[in-house]
């Protein structure tokens, strides 16, 4: 009886302390994140320039959106970006599995490979914009190598090459270093005796990769893939802004970039909110996948 009483008492103490400790986080996230996300749904049904009273117009923004080339261009570009994700996962995974046994000088390579994470997307976008420009070093190199009209080889100047360049830089190039370090850390948790046993069985490196390494770090591979989706849907603004500005035309628009342009450049805040609602649903799906992954891992 007394035991139960004290247990009940302890639980309520946990609750009291818990809410006090959570208060700062909850206040901040509810005010600055949840409220804007929720009110966004309402604004998507209004015509609103950001000043004065929003005017309720029902689903008009959505009708407009489904007839807007920029919207379809954004979806198509996101699709292209997603197509690069397998490469962005596989390349670091492969490098990490080759390096798994350790190698001399790895620290120097690691230092170089991780550099993009230190520099950040805004700096990288700015440098690449200069490097890939028509009067940049790449053009000069091609000219020196004897290509005539090298300035026509302007990767950011044509729609198809622009979105593919952006995708490669953002999804593969920028993430390789972090991916290697991430997967190496994950691989260090695999029991080394599994590889020794396989060696006795005479398996080759590829078989080890397929049958030991990949199943051994399944969670990390899934988690890294989800992170890549998050980056593509929700973290690309800085690089697009500095590298292409969404262009040429709308060739490198994504939903995220479009929301910004409509909202703060065209001052169509109501219409931008409709785009943001679509983006919300994409991100909600990604978030649910991630949460399921984390919960599954913690239960097992």
């Amino acid at each position: 009886m007394q035991n139960r009483m004290s247990k009940k008492l302890r639980m309520s103490q946990d609750a009291k302390d818990g809410w006090i400790l959570l208060a700062p986080l909850l206040v901040l996230t509810i005010v600055f994140l949840l409220y804007p996300v929720v009110s966004n749904f309402y604004y998507s049904l209004t015509k609103w320039k950001g000043l004065g009273e929003p005017q309720f117009i029902g689903l008009e923004n959505y009708v407009k959106m489904f007839g807007d080339d920029r919207f379809y261009s954004s979806l198509k570009n996101l699709f292209v970006l997603v197509l690069y994700i397998p490469l962005g996962v596989f390349v670091p995974l492969l490098i990490a599995s080759v390096l798994r046994g350790g190698m001399k000088g790895w620290k120097i390579y690691r230092a170089l490979l991780y550099l993009p994470n230190i520099l950040g997307p805004v700096i990288l976008g700015t440098i690449f914009a200069v490097m890939l420009s028509q009067v940049g070093p790449i053009t000069e190199l091609l000219t020196r190598l004897g290509f005539e009209h090298a300035s026509r080889f302007y990767l950011l100047g044509k729609s198809t090459s622009a979105i593919n360049t952006l995708s490669f830089l953002f999804v593969v190039w920028m993430r390789v270093g972090f991916g290697c370090i991430y997967f190496l850390a994950a691989m260090s948790t695999i029991d080394a005796s599994l590889y020794d046993a396989a060696k006795i069985d005479g398996t080759n490196a590829w078989q080890d990769f397929i049958h030991i390494t990949i199943p051994g770090i399944k969670f990390s591979i899934q988690f890294f893939t989800v992170l890549a989706f998050i980056e593509v849907f929700a973290r690309m603004y800085g690089m697009i802004f500095t590298l292409t500005g969404g262009g040429p035309g709308y060739a490198t628009y994504t939903l995220e970039f479009g929301v910004y342009m409509l909202s703060f450049s065209a001052y169509q805040k109501g219409y931008a909110s409709a785009w943001a609602v679509i983006l919300f649903f994409f991100c909600a799906i990604i978030a649910l996948v991630q949460i399921r992954l984390i919960k599954k891992e913690e239960l097992s």
Binding site: D14, A15, L21, V37, G101, A186, C283
Partner: protein, 294 residues
């Protein structure tokens, strides 16, 4: 941890030779590919360094080679004429204050989620995980209105609050996984000693989180240092700008020569690069916290 250690003597000399040869060639290919890869990754920063040391005419004449007569003129121009110095001070101030608040918010919430059991805990934790992936753009439009209604537009405090709100959920997740691994008896014995929740936080939980300060610092400070959209919305007056914002707007605003732009880039990444060179080991390993599991 060394590939070479694995070579063991076998009684079959021929087989041994062949095996060693294969291993050698595999190793050389690995080194070659890795070197090539590292060069490709490191080239942009190398390019920025050589360009920043060139004069405009030097750069126009040769965009690829080393500077023929290195000059620091671009850097002096960046620091004296272009507000970069005040951008740097703004960044250090905003990131510094944000990090202190961020650390306190994340430890407190991580303590609650990781060590205390109460109703609704799992739901709120799920909410936190859910909200942390949201793109800044879904929030930005309405956030701008909110911030201006609160009279926080063009204030560093506004940006600090928004940054902490946006980045704390992930930090909380990391702290939660950390605190779940320490024994609950610490909390219980502190309670028996009559320590309140704030004393538990300041005397036990924060000191115990010391190994995580680095990790949280790397993840949080890098994210803030690189942050663009919120700074762009909230800090519209030039004298308030951060480095990242300054550089992002520089391309269009000034129509600058590349040599000056690359110098500005190096000034912008200077602090992170120096810290990276000093704490390289720590930073690369710390960055995987909270998400690496077999």
């Amino acid at each position: 941890m060394n590939v070479n250690d694995r070579t063991t003597a076998t009684p079959f000399g021929n087989h041994h030779m062949k095996e060693r040869l294969r291993k050698r060639s595999l190793q050389s290919i690995t080194y070659l590919l890795l070197s090539l890869f590292s060069l490709i990754i490191a080239y942009p920063i190398y390019y920025a360094i050589i360009s920043s040391l060139k004069t405009t005419s030097d750069y126009t004449a040769d965009k690829i080679g080393l500077p023929s007569s290195p000059t620091l003129e671009n850097f002096s121009r960046v620091l004296t004429q272009m507000n970069m110095f005040s951008f740097l001070l703004n960044t250090l101030l905003v990131v510094g204050v944000s990090m202190v608040v961020y650390f306190l918010v994340c430890t407190a919430a991580g303590f609650a989620f990781g060590k205390l059991r109460f109703k609704g805990r799992l739901w709120i934790f799920t909410f936190v995980l859910f909200i942390q992936i949201f793109p800044q753009m879904v929030i930005a439009g309405q956030l701008y209105q909110l911030i201006s209604k609160m009279n926080l537009l063009n204030t560093h405090i506004g940006l600090i609050l928004v940054w902490v709100a946006y980045f704390a959920p992930f930090g909380t997740y990391i702290m939660t996984t950390y605190y779940s691994s320490i024994p609950k008896s610490l909390v219980e014995s502190a309670r028996i000693d009559g320590a309140g929740v704030f004393q538990q936080l300041t005397r036990i939980m924060i000191p115990i989180a010391r190994p995580m300060i680095g990790t949280l610092g790397i993840i949080g400070a890098l994210a803030m240092w690189h942050e663009l959209p919120f700074s762009m919305l909230i800090l519209q007056r030039q004298e308030l700008r951060t480095l990242t914002l300054g550089i992002a707007l520089m391309q269009g605003e000034f129509g600058l020569p590349t040599t000056v732009l690359t110098a500005a880039i190096l000034v912008t990444s200077g602090v992170p690069l120096i810290l990276y060179i000093i704490f390289q080991n720590y930073i690369t390993m710390g960055s995987t916290a909270g998400s690496v599991k077999g």
